[in-house]
Amino acid sequence: MAFFQTNFFSPVLGFNTDINVLIPTPNSDEILNHKKSDYFFDGAKYQVLYLLHGAYGDYSDWMRLTSIEKYAQNHKLAVVMPSASNSFYQDMFRGSSYLTYLTEELPQFVKALFPISAKRENTFTAGLSMGGYGALRLALTKPEQYAACASLSGAIDIEGCLERVKNGTMGGPFLWDSIFEASAQIAGTDADLFALIKKRKAEGRQLPKVFQSCGTEDFIYPLNILAHQRLLETGIDLTYEEHPGIHDWDYWDTHIQRVLEWLPLAEDSVKE
């Protein structure tokens, strides 16, 4: 795997931002075991997973706290890890336009710089907690760009999260009134994922398939059960898993591997 810590100016955000990028390359393991294959035939591109951090985090979390590099190498998958602050992956009403950055500017940038496929069938999102919501938010915002999205311990039901923050049963660094014009009215807007799915369906657009996983001892588990029910009601292609575990990196390090098994991966570079 080649590891690229990348810093660049984002016109959409209006400031410099960081991404970590993993591109499959022959590694020492493969050379030792004579498994070396042709990674870079002319025109070779990689399938890509946009992997999103949770609240309080940034682009460096997945690299530092999991073995994502090893897992991606095993599947020959490129991974892009961006930063989105505590924006809940929205175009903040008072703040930065992370959703536009992530769904428009970043794909264009990484495809120009790295050998990353531009095809829908090769483009996926995943994330944990706030990033689990984000993975679905990105893929459902531009369903023509993403074939699959995965949520680990995700805040899929953003309204439910807001309610629990308001009644003091959940915490979080979210500046709700910066993110939304009126946080009291999330239901029915595009930020409400259930409403967004309904809207996209009504538009007749092809939807990404969805993976949902949550630890049964996680504080966000009850909300995931509710979200599961509501996702089922939308009729979207959904794979649901729950396992013993809490809201921590052990869970995410373990179950991101399930996400990679679930994704429609070529397990190799792809032609384009």
Binding site: N7, F9, S28, P115
Partner: protein, 265 residues
């Protein structure tokens, strides 16, 4: 510029390698001045400058100690800054193959990853001090890859420098020096002796890269530059050579890397 800190496994080094890469991308200035620059055009390839550090340095030096990012952005070229320890950019007699790595593996690899030109006339190599020597050493070994060589305060007379009494030579761990050249006395007359290599390539009647030298007249390494220039002239090899007041320091290299960029096409 996109600033990319790269880490990957290198087959020729048999270990992980660390490289800093700049790729032109929209800057805040472009944004503020509404410059319409097509950075992300499909099929776009950038000319690329391989920029080498000096002894006691590494791949971080140029980006930390000079404003190369700004200069390269203005010129719309990519910059690749590898690490090569104190190897003088050769295949060490008792160590790693930095010559193969920088001259062959790295361009091959990076062209697969990034939008970099593979046209010879759009591949430049430059460096300071040991990196000035390295630029000549690498490009003369791979003249089909590099169209332009530039040296700033280069260690171009390697036999004299390795056996010299300057701190730059004396402070180098002796066992490391042994690993690089198998002893300072083995350089003269070998292909690691630049005039010898230059003569070989000249008589092979291949297309030589265009060459540029720049050195401070108060630099301890100035005599080495004069000696190499003289040897090249005697061979009838054309080199553009500029001399300015200055010593062996980053003020000089930050100022005069701009001369290199101006000299490049």
């Amino acid at each position: 510029m996109a600033h990319i800190d790269c880490n990957f496994y290198s087959d020729s080094l048999q270990k992980n390698a660390h490289v800093i890469v700049f790729i032109p991308s929209m800057s805040a200035d472009d944004f503020l001045e509404d410059r319409q620059v097509s950075y992300y055009e499909e099929g776009k390839k950038y000319p690329v400058l391989y920029l080498l550090h000096g002894s006691y340095g590494d791949c971080m030096d140029w980006s930390l100690r000079s404003s190369i990012e700004r200069y390269a952005q203005d010129k719309e070229i990519a910059v690749v800054m590898p690490s090569a320890e104190n190897s003088a950019y050769i295949n060490m007699v008792w160590g790693e193959n930095y010559l193969t790595y920088i001259g062959k593996e790295l361009p091959d690899f990076l062209r697969k990853i990034f939008p970099l030109s593979s046209v010879r006339d759009e591949n430049y190599i430059a460096g300071l001090s040991m990196g000035g020597y390295g630029a000549f050493r690498v490009a003369l070994e791979y003249p089909e890859t590099f169209g332009y060589i530039a040296s700033l305060s280069g260690g171009l007379d390697m036999p004299a420098l390795q056996n010299g009494t300057e701190a730059h030579s004396k402070k180098m761990p002796l066992n490391y020096k042994e690993a690089v050249f198998d002893g300072g006395d083995k350089i003269a007359g070998s292909r690691n002796d630049l005039p010898v290599l230059l003569k070989e390539k000249k008589s092979a009647e291949i297309c030589l890269p265009k060459m540029y030298m720049n050195c401070g007249t108060e630099d301890f390494i100035y005599p080495a530059n004069e000696a190499f220039y003289k040897a090249a002239c005697q061979m009838g090899v054309e080199i553009t050579y500029e001399r300015f007041q200055g010593v062996h320091c980053w003020d000089y290299w930050d100022a005069h890397i701009k001369d290199v960029l101006n000299w490049l096409p």
